[in-house]
């Protein structure tokens, strides 16, 4: 490393003399999390929409089907699962949109940080800000539909595994579709075949719990898929982000 006498340069700084330390990946992830949380707080009105959507749809079900506690209790698990999946969908589209449009992704690409790790951090921030509130109100929604008390914990565990999995799958598609116009429809169409197995396993666990059967196997499958997605999806997402910036 060349060291330059800084006083000789007057107002300009001797850049090589001051070895600038590259932040660690952990430091970078924390900076990204903090930024995303601040942004989420500034746009908290938007974050409220999925929550509002889930509450309204859940509240409408008893009116549409009639106030029959047995019927409602039987379908509640599946209905809540589908409502959460649908409530997640619109927000997935915007996971990378604004960052592509304002050039932030260009800065991500040139940063001395692994892009896949930044993508994973973004998914975590997205899940915490848009999906976690849905899970928090889940006991209330369950009560609205007369969900059996014993099923609620299984529903929550199934959602805790299924929603991050969907967010990870959605992040890859969102990155792929970010460059396209009207990508919302494209994203929904692409996510559907990927979401079906996730919904089947989650619903399988809920149905098994409801009929008093062992429900661990479908949950274990979801957990296995989540573990795989945590490793693979950020890599695919990073590749898709590079393509999005190229075009």
């Amino acid at each position: 490393m060349v060291s330059t006498p800084s006083n000789a340069l007057g107002p300009t700084r001797a850049r090589q003399g001051q070895a600038a330390r590259t932040p660690t990946a952990w430091h970078a992830c924390r900076a990204l999390l903090r930024r995303d949380f601040v942004l989420a707080w500034r746009r908290r009105g938007e974050l409220f929409l999925p929550l509002l959507y889930a509450v309204i749809v859940t509240a409408l079900f008893p009116f549409a089907l009639g106030p029959d506690p047995q019927l409602l209790g039987r379908i509640a698990g599946g209905v809540l699962l589908v409502i959460v999946v649908l409530a997640m969908l619109p927000a997935l589209d915007s996971m990378f949109r604004s960052d592509l449009e304002d050039g932030t992704l260009e800065q991500w690409l040139l940063a001395p940080q692994p892009l896949a790790l930044l993508a994973l951090t973004r998914v975590i921030a997205h899940w915490l800000t848009t999906v976690l509130p849905l899970l928090v109100v889940m006991p209330l929604l369950g009560a609205l539909l007369d969900l059996p008390a014993g099923v609620l914990p299984v529903l929550l565990v199934a959602l805790l595994l299924a929603t991050p999995l969907l967010a990870l799958l959605g992040s890859v598609l969102s990155a792929l579709a970010a460059g396209a116009r009207r990508s919302g429809i494209l994203l929904a169409l692409m996510l559907l075949p990927l979401a079906v197995p996730v919904v089947i396993f989650a619903a399988g666990a809920i149905a098994a719990a409801q009929s008093g059967m062992p429900y661990l196997a479908p949950l274990a499958w979801l957990a296995a898929a989540l573990a795989m997605a945590i490793v693979l999806a950020p890599l695919a997402c990073a590749a898709a982000l590079r393509i999005a910036v190229e075009s």
């Binding site: 600038a20 930024r35 260009e106």
Partner: protein, 212 residues
Amino acid sequence: MMPSSATPAPLLSAHRLAFSRNDEPVFGPLDFSIGRGETVLVEGDNGSGKTTLLRVLAGMLPPSAGEIRFEGAPATRDVCDGRLLWLGHRSGMNESLSARENLEFLAGLYGVHADVDAEAAMQRVGIAGWIDEPLRALSAGQKKRVALARLLLLPGDLWLLDEPYANLDRHGIELVNALVTGHCAGDGAALVTSHGAVRFADPCARHIHLEA
């Protein structure tokens, strides 16, 4: 091949570098190199491929032919990441966040120079008073100045500046020239595109001329 012991390899060099989009040549083949302390001005009319050249050099577009070397080694992501600073048409800043929040986030990714913080950088580009305003409250020229503050704050050897003069007033243009001159005096290098309407500070700067 290269007598690396006698003369240090240039910071960035391009050999027979060309780029075509859908078999339509955009620029090249080009041969040039930039050493430390040098400023290279890329000139050409609209659509002559200035931005594309910069994007290829930044690694955001793969070249169609030729190669790019960074300090003598092939320019891979591992070699270049963090050494290049990019200032493009898009600000790279979120409009809902303030300049301080934007700069601190980028500092978290890139690191900072030892003696600079966001406030000092904003002071230098002349809009310290706006540091806590959301960017959407700023004018286009002020946003450009925030982007320039980023160059001061983040460490990086080679600046790739795409039309840095756009939206800036006379003082802003002088500021860009001063920043580039300062950076090159501090052993950095800069590649600057311009459509030729603005007088460049350093009359000795080398020029690359692109034809449409």
